[in-house]
Symmetry: C2
Subunit: 205 residues, 2 copies
């Protein structure tokens, strides 16, 4: 059944959740698709349509219970549980990721970190000790982690990604400015500042 939901709809749910969690934190108990839409920059009609794919979350005229919608979205996105993360590449960006409190607060825990620089291995970063790349496949397989964050240079990204998959990783958050060519059942998301900047320069030119 989940298969039938378009990926672009799934991609909007975390943004709804982020806004709703913010409302909850600020003591807001009910909201409307209009209000939620304004806080995100998505039309109320789109939000109603997206949510309707997953069920009936609000009553006509009374809006949504923020708490209920947060619970439902967390359940749909499977973030009502904690997830182990693997970090590969501990340069400046990797260091920022390893020490970012935002992951832990949202149920994501970095359990392993790898780098190919011998000067870094053995050192502690955040809660973990940096291991060499030669230990990557064994350690990830042992850990059972399914999600990796890839912050290696673009030239190494494809090779490392393939090794990650062999180790049992099913989802990769790719910070390398590089399209990965991977089997269709592997989930990849990209965080590339250049494509985001170029999206905006379209409007600035």
């Amino acid at each position: 059944m989940e298969k039938s939901i378009p990926d672009i709809v799934v991609g909007r749910l975390p943004r709804y959740l982020r806004s709703l969690e913010y409302m909850l934190k600020n003591g807001i108990k009910t909201t409307s698709s209009q209000e939620l839409g304004e806080s995100i920059g998505i039309s109320a009609a789109q939000i109603r349509k997206d949510l309707s794919q997953f069920g009936e979350f609000g009553k006509q005229g009374t809006g949504y219970s923020v708490r209920y919608l947060v619970d439902q979205l967390q359940s749909i996105l499977h973030v009502n549980q904690s997830w182990d993360l693997v970090l590969v590449g501990v340069g400046d960006l990797g260091t920022a990721l390893a020490t970012y409190q935002g992951f832990v607060n949202r149920g994501f825990h970095i359990v392993l970190a790898f780098d190919n620089d011998p000067a870094k291995t053995g050192k502690k970063i955040g809660d973990v000790t940096i291991l060499g790349m030669d230990q990557m496949e064994t350690k990830i397989a042992e850990s059972g982690a399914k999600i990796a964050m890839l912050s290696v240079p673009a030239s190494a990204a494809q090779e490392v990604a393939e090794k990650l998959i062999k180790s049992g990783i099913r989802a990769i958050l790719n910070y390398a400015p590089m399209q990965l060519i991977l089997p269709g059942d592997i989930h990849v998301e990209y965080l590339d500042p250049i494509t985001k900047l170029q999206h905006m320069t379209y409007y600035l030119g």
Copy 2:
């Protein structure tokens, strides 16, 4: 005329460009919407439809000239010129951004960096000297920069963003995990690892 192109289409163009530039670098002279689509994970039909909104870029049966399409997309996205960037927040992430060579290589130059930590101001990061937040509005206005990267804590993001706009900034790349509420003519893009991770956990649960 540009106003009539849906933003979601505009957002795909930088991804096409990234793949095409990679082909160019690797000596590939012609490509097809099929080939381009496979390298990005977007259907050939979608690519043809997106590109057709901007003109006629290939001939039926002979495919696209990679060089020509790169030139056209660079022109459409206004990245055939260089752009000045302002960096606000020089923590671990800001440091990674300030020293990331990928910006310079793609025509984006960090010309100003700000942080509210007195221990950091006066120090050099990448090519610039970190200035205090009290100098932000004056220095940005003087520079004429239109794009800012925001890597401050979530609690400070909204206030800083409003100051940026008063200083003449028109586009913000927001790394703070925080929806900004800004005037409709300001362009904001988000780079939030949590929403990307939650997009993937949907499929892993």
